[in-house]
Subunit: 178 residues, 2 copies
């Protein structure tokens, strides 16, 4: 089964460091050429489910522009230029919660949109998380840190409290490991 | 906890029916104004995990532009204008597999990107799926329909065979229901 080939790529909008848009010319395995295939470039990001030594999940209750009302959320943020996913995961855990963890599990990397790209999500589970420093987050959203049992997190997931796709995805991926 | 307010929205790129880009002016709960917040408009889509009367999962092995090599995938596609998510799910199941199902479960709707939008994913589980008609798909990708046990699907998920975020998400969400 052959992948499509990118024959040509043109940047048609360079909005800012968070978004640019490309038009690709693509060749299908049967030789057919498709012009003007839209491709969305956004930074890769990490999400982290952190669990403390008592088995409590560190979960935010927060707002986010794309959703109505508050949502439950894991730790997360964009990779900085040149940063590896695990580095970003460890940095975000520390910045957003003040915790560190010595037990990290990689849960996979996923293309956000199979047609348009829209960056990659890199998922991690951080176990034995311990309070280390003060919180030093630069997020624009209001957020409140909760410490929930696995049962509370699972119930929140099935009740639709995780409203953003990568957040529901990583919570579900952690749940099936347990 | 208050949501951000959209004060102004301008379309700055109308690429085609699959993609347009807006710049929003946003007001935060503390009164701060943010100009030029990028917002990505793409069609909402559905994904469907279909399970036949023998408990076999209908899973595609297929290519997709944003990923390397083949991936396992659920049924899925964009909503047509004016279409409800469940209608789209039932249409896509029939078009892509020739199956119908009489037992539908809604698994939630999720903003693909919490900052930029990028449409919504609507997820469904279709049980007791039965062959009804010929396949009538208009997808550009090569694809092969597999009939897998739940154990095979779970193993494929943890092995990283579902490479696109909504695909891994719906498979994980179905797995935690069982």
């Amino acid at each position: 089964m052959q992948s499509w080939k990118t024959i040509k790529r043109d940047t048609i909008l360079n909005f800012n460091k968070f978004l640019s848009i490309e038009a690709h010319t693509v060749e299908l395995p049967n030789g057919r050429i498709i012009d003007n295939w839209p491709w969305v470039v956004t930074p890769d990001f990490v999400n982290v489910v952190a669990v403390d030594e008592n088995g409590r999940f560190l979960i935010f209750r927060q707002t986010k522009y794309a959703i109505d009302g508050a949502s439950f959320a894991p730790i997360g943020g964009y990779l900085e230029p040149g940063e590896e996913p695990l580095q970003a995961a460890q940095r975000e855990l520390l910045e957003e919660t003040g915790y560190t963890a010595n037990n990290w599990h990689y849960l996979g990397s996923y293309a956000v949109d199979g047609n348009r790209g829209v960056g990659k999500a890199h998922f991690f589970l951080a176990q034995n998380a311990q309070p280390t420093t003060e919180i030093n987050a630069d997020d624009l959203e209001e957020q409140e840190l909760l410490f929930l049992t696995h049962e509370e997190v699972s119930a929140a997931l099935t009740s639709g409290y995780f409203k953003v796709l990568p957040w529901a995805a990583i919570i579900a991926l952690v749940s099936i490991r347990r």
